[in-house]
Symmetry: C2
Amino acid sequence: MANIKEVADLAGCSIATVSRHVNGAAPISVEVRARIEAAILQTGYRPSEIGRSLKRQATRTLGIVVPSLTNPVFALSVSGFQAVARRHGYNVLIATSDYDPAIEAEAVETFLGQSVDGLALTVCDSLSSPALATIDAGGKPNVLLFNQADMPGRQAVTVDNIEAARAMTDAILAEGHRRIVFLAGRFAASDRSRLRYRGFAAALAQAGLKPPLPLELDFLDATPDAALQPLLGGENRPTALFCSNDVLALGVIGALKRLGARVPDDMSVVGFDGIDLGQMVEPTLCTVSQPARAMGELACERLLATIRSTPEAATDAARFLAFDIRRGGSLGPAPRVVAAIGAGQDLQRDNTTPHNKRETA
Amino acid sequence: MANIKEVADLAGCSIATVSRHVNGAAPISVEVRARIEAAILQTGYRPSEIGRSLKRQATRTLGIVVPSLTNPVFALSVSGFQAVARRHGYNVLIATSDYDPAIEAEAVETFLGQSVDGLALTVCDSLSSPALATIDAGGKPNVLLFNQADMPGRQAVTVDNIEAARAMTDAILAEGHRRIVFLAGRFAASDRSRLRYRGFAAALAQAGLKPPLPLELDFLDATPDAALQPLLGGENRPTALFCSNDVLALGVIGALKRLGARVPDDMSVVGFDGIDLGQMVEPTLCTVSQPARAMGELACERLLATIRSTPEAATDAARFLAFDIRRGGSLGPAPRVVAAIGAGQDLQRDNTTPHNKRETA
DNA sequence: CTGTTAGCGCGTTCAT
DNA sequence: ATGAACGCGCTAACAG
């Protein structure tokens, strides 16, 4: 690929003139301009962004690192982020951490080396992320996405996970449920899960109930059947499950069906995130919806504002976005009589526990 | 952020020595090495990848452009692509075209300016893509993803869309359906859709049936109810719908439910892609599954092979990957008696057309 | 209006 | 084992 010098030689002028033409930085005589344009066309010249970056000490590139792209909530946020970046003439480098803090840190290292102008991160744990410290040390503009701020002044685009989980838990309680279990993806991999559990526990405590410990599932496991089984036995079994995210919730609903439980008649299930998919399944998923695409967009806007050092961006750095408790068929009233659920227990169950239909509740 | 010169000054040596240390290019005396390491630690020095790129004329960055990230099939392929790239020490620039050839071309321009070492593309139409021509002109290593090759020698990672659609159509025919309609996303935005229609039409022709024209839907429209309505009236209505992709198929199934049709008893629906979501809905989606993540991985591997000019990569450039006809509940036997579907017609339908249960077929 | 030149950060040849 | 110097492609400051 041709460089600026070849174009200049071909056009019979200096490289400075070519540069000026390309950047429209100064008026050029008509004849020279024509020769330059011809030369550019002939050589297929395209200014090297890397040469420019070296000069200007900025790359017009942003980085974004998310745990995964297969979770629609992250894919959506990346989509929004990238759209805004493009609109502003910025490129986007992407990395997925696969919920691994080591990969996360490595990705940040690489991005800093690539001299991104700023980066957006959904880290595993904002409180213990080495990546965050590295970025701060370098003074790179950055914004957290989905994570809550780990310190005052940190830019973060997120909902208040504690409040959201508390509100959702209240909604579950309002349906008459008293034994509710919180199912989480691995806590180590998601500070969001932990915050949501805190909101859950707070709501239960406020209702005078003792919050049970969360049940940790590997939410990358497509078939959590075995892990769920112990929850279904006995008359003290839970009647509702609060899953820390929607992907987990959908997996759990599938498992429950296979294990012979009906949702929500035997067991209510709610999630967190508000992915579209939740509205396409039957029953629809009751969940806390957060505006993932808009969050990606906002993260990018704040990042760009920081890069241009527009000070107003920092003022509302950590203001929370609104969430929405989205009603769905997966949350029903608590059964009046509870019995164990299980493949071999259908007859017994049918004899002893007339199921509570929604119409009768 | 410190540069190599500051480190050299601090360590009391030349920048050449620092460079050699960082790159392990030559032996360094123990004392100097210690001073350099101290200086690096102290300054937080990180070699500038952009300086390196300028020197070495390669960026260790790949570009990938896909129509969207919200369609899981693309998100998965990007995920696989990125994972392989990372493993090989490459960064990934991402762009989404939103099914717009103009944005697509613009993205490619930007990537070329950014001096990516190679790029993977899912273009709207490989036959008419200006982007492809641009890339070829520049001689950049590239590989098509999901698109089939537009010319011999072009690298492409894809399934044989025509054959896959033909096989799926045969499966529909085998269930006794005779009036089948092909629903496509906007043809202009997807050459895959067009190829799949060709396979569909070929299968019908071979069965002695006249293939109806495809019905074009805007598959970004979440509620295709209105567009679908005309298909449901009359006794000559179709009994099966072949949707050009899974996202469309799920939207169509949702619309059918709202319009009072049961799937598959009143209407069978099949899709194309094999997204996970299709297995979580009820009924499960019958579809052609393609290994999206593996395709992204393979595309990246081929790209890297091309960049390193491993010649063997080119030999099987356009070999097709295997697809899988995935059975699912959304495809059932054709009803023996067909009647119009509609909100106001429930009674009439129930009187005149006893539904064909799967057990009785 | 145009050309000359310096320098962005780095790797690398050529000396020593 | 180390240093000096050049050049990768480009822009900007200065000269004319």
